[in-house]
Each structure stands twice: as structure tokens, then as C-alpha cells.
């Protein structure tokens, strides 16, 4: 394996043949990884969960954990050998020569300490600045990362800041000593799209100013925005490396190609994302649809409305008697056999709208109808007989399964309407459960397992099978793929697409990811602060967004 070498410039970081493992006899989770990062350059380590990308990043800082071991031919930071550092020497390197930015600043900044103190810590540890000088430098740093009102922010703790501001504070603490190398481990995961874009700009600024940036990410689209070069990790090995453009446009390895193919952003409705039959382990084998791009779906939205939401408003009562409008007179129509995408940032009211559509909460005003009949508000007693028509798939499917039940028990219960053991309604249930498993591409071997012991993709398939069991017309999918790796996400999206075609289902598809929504939906509704700010056919939204918020979302949405 040749090193992922930079062209020309002296590398700030040079890693040669790094192998990392855990436990005395444990197998290596990172094997023979080599790469370099030069000043003013950004190298992205890309891979799915379990590929060893975070372990690699932490090993460079000597922080892979107490039970880890590592071997390398070289780990050099500005030509200094890091392999034989004493603990004391390590401490002088960390923070001063290398800065680390972790995912989820809420947990990565001490929730009990003001962020100003956290940032000043790096200065306290490595400089002899007086407290006043430190405070001045902290203000300066906060301003440089674009933190509004830094005087106020230094006294706040991470829990009191929004996700974006928190991440800025974390970056400020990592760049406090202007380290030559910045390691960013999933720095934008879990952030809203618009916030993510600003954080990526900030990283790009660091790069411009001459810092070497090692970016760790699972998200190719994010990587393409800032990285100069990409190294693709799979099962602890770098399988492909090269300039970002080349790797993304012209991948050499089949795995890279599959990874890129799985990204839904910018892919027309109906086009397959996952590779069919055989090549993708765990992929559903019975699908016979062509892998070739299918032009925008022939199904013209029919006139029949499956689900109609009319002027609904939901107020949440705060602890001090104040009220907040979670959903503000929103109206959407879901036409039979089509997908309506609902996109918005966190806190925009998407999930509340989903719960309204599922009849889990009652609206304060307005109404929801299913197939023209009253649905919400309606007494649960009257809604229950028609509940079979509306199914749901959730983001956290594990939590949606009773932890005591096996897959078989879950599906049997769903297929028989909750009939008790031995009741006549249970006859033929076994066949129906097999049929459901088949339709979501799961082997019968998962039946005795509990969802806890299944992979994320398998769980989501079980969740879809459960939702299909009562033969619904409508599925409400609330962020159904947000917690999944991109290749698994592709499989689940393809599955949903195929099921819609086969059963004529109508989807209300909710996601924070415009790319996913645009790939799945015939029509898109954009939600912001409880309101539907824009609703139109997908093509129209993408080509000619009307509302400023939609435009901002489109601009910020990373694409390959």
C-alpha cells in the first residue's frame, strides 16, 4: 500500500503502516494504515461505522485508550517521532501541536464548566499567560470562530448554547494555541444542514490559514466540501486514496463506487442506490428491478388524497405557563400512492406533525383526515378500528420494540391484530410472518432473535415489516434512515421505494436531509418554526425555490 502522499509540500503529519488493536490478544481494528497531511491541506478519512477511522485519529494523539496497543513504522508530527513519547511529552504535544474536535460538543465540553474556562484551559496548560491575558485571548478566539456576543458566551455552559455555537466553542478550544494539525472527528454530525455548512466553512478557513486538517467523516458529501484528498477506510484498511475530485468522480475500487452510489443527494426519484443481488451483503435478493437510472416516476399524483392535514396548530405549554407553537396552522395533502417529503431543521415541528398524523396527539386547532374520513381529533375508540390503515417507521426502531419480544413475537402480534396465543386469529400467522420477512428481504433466521441483537439495517427492516403487517395504505416515516450508515441507508431507501410500487403505498417521509427527501419524494413540504413555508413538486423546489429558507437549505445542503 503506497502512502496517501501529498504532492510537494512537507507533511505536517506522516503516518506509516499504523496498526491498532484492543486487548492483549485482540484483533487489530486498524491495519497498516499510511497517510500524510501537509500544511494548508485537508485529508479526509472516510468510512462507515466500524471502519476504524476514529481509532486512527485517536491513536495519533496517543489517546486510543488504556487497553489499546499500536505498531507503526512511523508516526511523525512535523518530523518529530510520536511513537516513543513519554506521557509528559505527549501532554505538551496535545493541544499545542495537535487540536482535536469531537462530534457532539454537548458532551465534548464539560457540561458543568463555562465554555470560556474550557477554552482557557488549553492556554493555562501550555502558556504562562496571566488570567487576564487568557480571558482576552478567549474573547479573540471566540470572535474568530464567529461566536456572537462572546462576552456573554464565555460564562455559559455547553448545555446553554445551541448546537452550532457549542461546536464553535469546541473549535475555539482546539485552535487556542494555533496547532499545526487539527483533527476533526465527525465535527458536523447531528448538526442542522445550515449550521453544518457554517462549521465546514470554519474548518476551511483554518485550512486556508495554513493548518493541516485531518477530517474524519462518514459523509462523502461533507468531505467533498472541504477535503483536498480523500482516503477511504474499510475494515481498518485504506482501500483507496487520492484527490477528492478524482475519488468522487472516478472511483477505482468497487467499494468506493458503492459508497458513492449510495448517496441519495442529487439522484432522481426512483433510481436505485444500492447494488442489487449478491455484491451487497445483506441486500435483498428477490429484487429484479433494473439498476439503470429510471427517469422521474411515471406515476402522476392521483387526485385521491390519502391523508390531509388542514390548518392544524399544536401548542406546547412551557413550565411557567408560557406556550410555544410547535405547529402553526400547517396544511399538507398526501396523495394516494405518492410520497410527500417533509423537510426542516431540528425543532421545526416535523415530528409533532408526524405524531398528529399518527393520531398520537390531538391538535389545538384544525384537523387531520384519512381517506376523507375524520381521523384527528377523534376519540381513540373510533380511531382504533381504522388504525390499520396508517403505519409508522421511526428513526430509533430499537426503542420502538418491546425489549422482551423476539422478532417473531413482534411480527406475529402485528400480523394478528394483537390476538392472544391460541386464538383462531393466529392461524396462518406463521405464513404471513414469513411473507413479511420476505418482502423486506430478511432471512427466517432472524425470527428468534431480539431486535437488540440485530444490526441497525436489519432492525429498520423489521420495523418496516411490522408497519406493513396490518396492510396499511399510508406509512408515516419519521427520519427512518438518519441513524444508518450510508450503504445501509441506500438499501432501506430502495426497499421503501420498491414496497411503495408493489403495494401502492402513500408515504409521509420526514427527514432533516434535503438530499434524502428529494430522492424519495414526489412533492416536498418545507417546514420552519412550525410553519409549512413552501410546498411544491420536488423538481420545482429544487429548480426554483421560492421561500428564502428553502433557498438557504438548498445552498447549505452538501452534494457530491
Amino acid at each position: 500500500m503506497s502512502a496517501a502522499g501529498a504532492t510537494g509540500a512537507d507533511p505536517v503529519l506522516r503516518v506509516e503502516n499504523l496498526t491498532v488493536g484492543f486487548g492483549a490478544s485482540g484483533a487489530a481494528v486498524v491495519e497498516g494504515v499510511s497517510f500524510t497531511v501537509a500544511a494548508g491541506e485537508c485529508l479526509a478519512l472516510v468510512g462507515e461505522s466500524g471502519s476504524g477511522k476514529s481509532v486512527t485519529a485517536r491513536s495519533i494523539l496517543g489517546l486510543a485508550g488504556a487497553r489499546s496497543w499500536q505498531r507503526a513504522d512511523a508516526v511523525e508530527l512535523s518530523e518529530r517521532d510520536l511513537r516513543s513519547l513519554s506521557e509528559r511529552e505527549w501532554r505538551s504535544v496535545r493541544g499545542r501541536n495537535v487540536g482535536l474536535i469531537l462530534q457532539d460538543a454537548l458532551a465534548s465540553l464539560d457540561p458543568l464548566r463555562p465554555v470560556g474556562r474550557e477554552i482557557a484551559d488549553a492556554l493555562r496548560l501550555h502558556t504562562r499567560l496571566s488570567p487576564a491575558a487568557r480571558a482576552a485571548r478567549v474573547h479573540e478566539l471566540l470572535r474568530s470562530v464567529g461566536m456572537p456576543e462572546p462576552e456573554l458566551r464565555v460564562k455559559q455552559r455547553s448545555g446553554e448554547l445551541s448546537g452550532g455555537l457549542r461546536q464553535r466553542a469546541l473549535i475555539a478550544s482546539a485552535i487556542a494555541l494555533d496547532p499545526g494539525l487539527l483533527i476533526a472527528d465527525e465535527p458536523t454530525t447531528a448538526l442542522d444542514t445550515t449550521v453544518q455548512a457554517r462549521i465546514l466553512d470554519l474548518l476551511a478557513e483554518q485550512k486556508e490559514s495554513g493548518t493541516a486538517v485531518l477530517l474524519i467523516s462518514h459523509d462523502l458529501a461533507v468531505v467533498s466540501r472541504v477535503a483536498d484528498r480523500v482516503a477511504v477506510l474499510r475494515e481498518g484498511r485504506i482501500i483507496e486514496t487520492g484527490p477528492t475530485d478524482r475519488v468522487l468522480r472516478n472511483p477505482e475500487e468497487p467499494y468506493t463506487r458503492r459508497l458513492i452510489g449510495a448517496v441519495p443527494t442529487g439522484r432522481p426519484r426512483g433510481e436505485r442506490l444500492s447494488v442489487p443481488v449478491g455484491s451487497a451483503p445483506g441486500g435483498s435478493a428477490q429484487r429484479a428491478r433494473p439498476a439503470a437510472p429510471v427517469p422521474a416516476r411515471a406515476t402522476t399524483p392521483r387526485d385521491a388524497v390519502a391523508l390531509s392535514v388542514r390548518n392544524v396548530t399544536v401548542r406546547f405549554r412551557g413550565p411557567n405557563g408560557s406556550t410555544r407553537l410547535a405547529v402553526d396552522s400547517a396544511s399538507v395533502d398526501l396523495h394516494t400512492g405518492t410520497t410527500l417529503g417533509l423537510v426542516g431543521e431540528s425543532g421545526s415541528g416535523k415530528t409533532t406533525l408526524a405524531r398528529l398524523a399518527l393520531g398520537l396527539i390531538a391538535p389545538d386547532a384544525g384537523e387531520v383526515r384519512v381517506g376523507g374520513e375524520p381521523w384527528n381529533p377523534l376519540a381513540e375508540k373510533h380511531r382504533r378500528p381504522v388504525r390499520a390503515r396508517v403505519g409508522a417507521v421511526y428513526q430509533d426502531s430499537l426503542a420502538s420494540f418491546d425489549p422482551r419480544l423476539s422478532v417473531e413475537a413482534i411480527l406475529t402480534d402485528a400480523a394478528t391484530g394483537g390476538a392472544r396465543r391460541g386464538s383462531p386469529a393466529r392461524s396462518g400467522a406463521a405464513d404471513r410472518v414469513r411473507e413479511l420477512l420476505d418482502s423486506v428481504g430478511l432471512p427466517a433466521g432472524v425470527l428468534p432473535a431480539r431486535p437488540l441483537n440485530l444490526s441497525g439495517g436489519q432492525r429498520q427492516r423489521v420495523a418496516i415489516a411490522r408497519a406493513l403487517a396490518p396492510r396499511p395504505d399510508i406509512l408515516i416515516c419519521d427520519e427512518p434512515v438518519s441513524a444508518l450508515d450510508v450503504s445501509v441507508q441506500a438499501q432501506v431507501l430502495d426497499l421503501l421505494d420498491e414496497l411503495q410500487e408493489r403495494h401502492g403505498l402513500s408515504y409521509l417521509f420526514i427527514s432533516h436531509d434535503l438530499g434524502v427527501v428529494a430522492h424519495m419524494a414526489d412533492r416536498i413540504a418545507v417546514m420552519s418554526e412550525g410553519r409549512i413555508v413552501e410546498m411544491a413538486d420536488t423538481d420545482r423546489i429544487l429548480a426554483a425555490p421560492q421561500h428564502p429558507f428553502t433557498r438557504r437549505l438548498l445552498d447549505a445542503s452538501p452534494r457530491l
Binding site: R94, V98, L102, A122, L125, L165, S173
Partner: protein, 321 residues
């Protein structure tokens, strides 16, 4: 939820929380007083007889009537209840049946000794727990296993048994400390250790678990990546996280210490609230029992409000909840 808003009104929100919380505490105090008042009516037999030395004393009818009049026992229950509440509000806890003195005065005499004992024991327990938690989380299997083992055993030790063993070893055997707790500091050592050991077991477990959580938290990784030493990670970050839940348990710890004080003060023949309670229970001296119960309940309630307030001030996450 998180907001971008400036923390305007945080002091105001805290003041309102404290007000609501104090009102709740007052309600609980009133309910405790009412409950005790009516619960003692469940006692079979005549309270007047109890005052005159129990059913065996064969007091004359005139004497009984005189006592009833003196204690207001001939009044309707509602009148007695209101009168009792009124006296309570002025701090009058009645007269002890067995000692014939004012309960308030008695308690005022006994309270400081027990509070000293409890405060010292709590401090020692905290120090022991902190030491054990920091030592057992330094890494390695042996310290972790020893730490966990010591905590479980310590938490399961009954006070009376520790007291017996301590007396056997340090009084009867080595003669270092007196078996009877006198006023001097030497007499305090054994009772304090007796009370502190089981409490340290509980607190140590809680602290060790929270310490381990904190040491593995992403913010600890961030701190290490900033160049913080292991000691620094502990002092600056982790110990705070370990101490918070233990502080939150102060109300519980107080109850645990008072229960222990009943045993410890009895064994070491040390005057105090606990021993007074036991004597009163044995003699069925109702006003004295109620007096102790109310004082302990009031102290517990005040302590709970204070620790809740302290936790909220220290941990912004609680304020959001």
C-alpha cells in the same frame, strides 16, 4: 431544549423555583405534624393513663380526670388538633410524659451533640468515599475489584456490629479509645467511625460509578486532547461530576445517619437525639417521640431543599428539566 437566548431571568427563575419548593416543604411539614397527631390516636388505651405511668399504674378516676383537663384530652379531637398546631407554630412541643420537662428544652439540649456527630460522620464518610473512589478508578483490575468489594461490604455493615467490633478492638483490646462516648474528642472517634463506614460504602459506590462515567465521557477526551494530565482531568472535570450525585443524596444520608445515631448513641451511651428517641419509644413517651420526629423531619425537609438548590446551581442541566 437549548436556546441561543441570553440567560436573562435565570436568577428570577431560581427564586421562583425556590419559592415553590419552600411552599411544598411547608406543606410536607404540616402533613407530617397532622399525620403524627392522628396516628398516635391509634394507640390502644387511654393517653391519660399513659401519662400516669401506663395501664398498670391503677390511677384513680380523679387523677385521670385532672390529667385529661391538664392536657386538654377532654376536648373534641378537632379542638385538640388545632390547639396542637397552634402550640407547634409557637415552638411549643408539649411536656414529656416520662421526664416531666418541656420537650423543646429537652431537644434543644440533645440536638447539638447529635448534629456534631452527624456532621463529623458525614465529613469522614465523604473523605473515605472520595479516597476509595479515586484510588479504585486509577486503573487496573485489582484496585477496581477491591474498591467495589469494600463498598458493598461497608454498605451492608449494621451499625451495631461495627460498634461491637470497634469496642472489642480499640477499647477492650488496645485501650486507645473509651467504650463510652464522653465529652472529649477521644470519645467521639469510635461513634464517628461507626456511623461513617456504611455511609462511605454507599457514597463510595455512587462516586466511583459517576467518576468512571466522567473519565470515559467525551469531555474528558477533549480535555486530554488539550494536554490535560490524568490528575488534571480528575481535579478539573471528573471529581465535580462524581460529587454532584453524592451531594444530591445528602437528604438520604441525613436520614441514614439519624437512624444510625439511635443505635450508636445507645451503644456508646452518648447523650443525643437518637438515644432520646429510643428511650421515648421504649417508654411510649408520646410528646417526646413526636418532638424528635418533627425536629428530624423538619431538618430533613430543610436539608433536601438546600441540597436541591445547591444541585440546581451547580448543574445547569437540572434547570432545564
Amino acid at each position: 431544549m437549548t436556546t441561543d437566548r441570553a440567560p436573562v431571568g435565570v436568577p428570577f427563575r431560581f427564586a421562583r423555583w425556590l419559592l415553590v419548593r419552600s411552599a411544598g416543604a411547608l406543606f410536607v411539614l404540616w402533613a407530617v405534624a397532622t399525620l403524627t397527631f392522628f396516628a398516635i390516636r391509634l394507640i390502644p388505651g387511654d393517653p391519660a393513663e399513659a401519662i400516669l405511668g401506663g395501664p398498670g399504674s391503677q390511677a384513680s378516676d380523679e387523677a385521670l380526670a385532672a390529667v385529661r383537663a391538664e392536657y386538654g384530652l377532654d376536648q373534641p379531637l378537632a379542638v385538640q388538633y388545632l390547639a396542637a398546631l397552634g402550640r407547634l407554630a409557637t415552638g411549643d412541643l408539649g411536656t414529656s410524659y416520662s421526664l416531666r420537662t418541656s420537650v423543646s428544652t429537652l431537644l434543644a439540649e440533645q440536638l447539638p451533640g447529635t448534629m456534631l456527630l452527624a456532621a463529623l460522620s458525614l465529613s469522614v464518610a465523604w473523605m473515605l468515599a472520595l479516597a476509595l473512589a479515586t484510588w479504585s478508578t486509577r486503573g487496573g483490575r485489582v484496585p477496581a475489584a477491591v474498591g467495589a468489594g469494600l463498598e458493598v461490604v461497608a454498605a451492608a455493615l449494621p451499625h451495631f456490629w461495627i460498634a461491637i467490633v470497634l469496642i472489642l478492638v480499640f477499647s477492650t483490646g488496645l485501650g486507645w479509645f473509651p467504650p463510652i462516648s464522653t465529652a472529649g474528642p477521644a470519645g467521639l472517634v469510635l461513634p464517628v467511625v461507626t456511623l461513617a463506614l456504611p455511609l462511605a460504602g454507599f457514597l463510595g459506590s455512587i462516586m466511583r460509578e459517576s467518576l468512571l462515567d466522567a473519565l470515559e465521557a467525551p469531555f474528558a477526551l477533549s480535555a486530554r486532547a488539550r494536554g490535560e494530565s490524568e490528575l488534571g482531568v480528575r481535579l478539573v472535570h471528573a471529581l465535580r461530576h462524581a460529587a454532584l450525585p453524592a451531594i444530591g443524596l445528602s437528604g438520604w444520608a441525613f436520614g441514614f445517619l439519624i437512624s444510625g445515631a439511635v443505635v450508636v448513641e445507645t451503644i456508646f451511651a452518648r447523650p443525643g437525639l437518637g438515644r432520646t428517641l429510643l428511650t421515648a419509644v421504649t417508654a411510649r413517651d408520646i410528646p417526646l417521640v413526636i418532638g424528635v420526629v418533627l425536629v428530624v423531619a423538619a431538618a430533613y425537609i430543610v436539608l433536601t431543599v438546600l441540597t436541591d438548590a445547591a444541585s440546581r446551581l451547580a448543574d445547569p442541566r437540572l434547570r432545564a428539566a
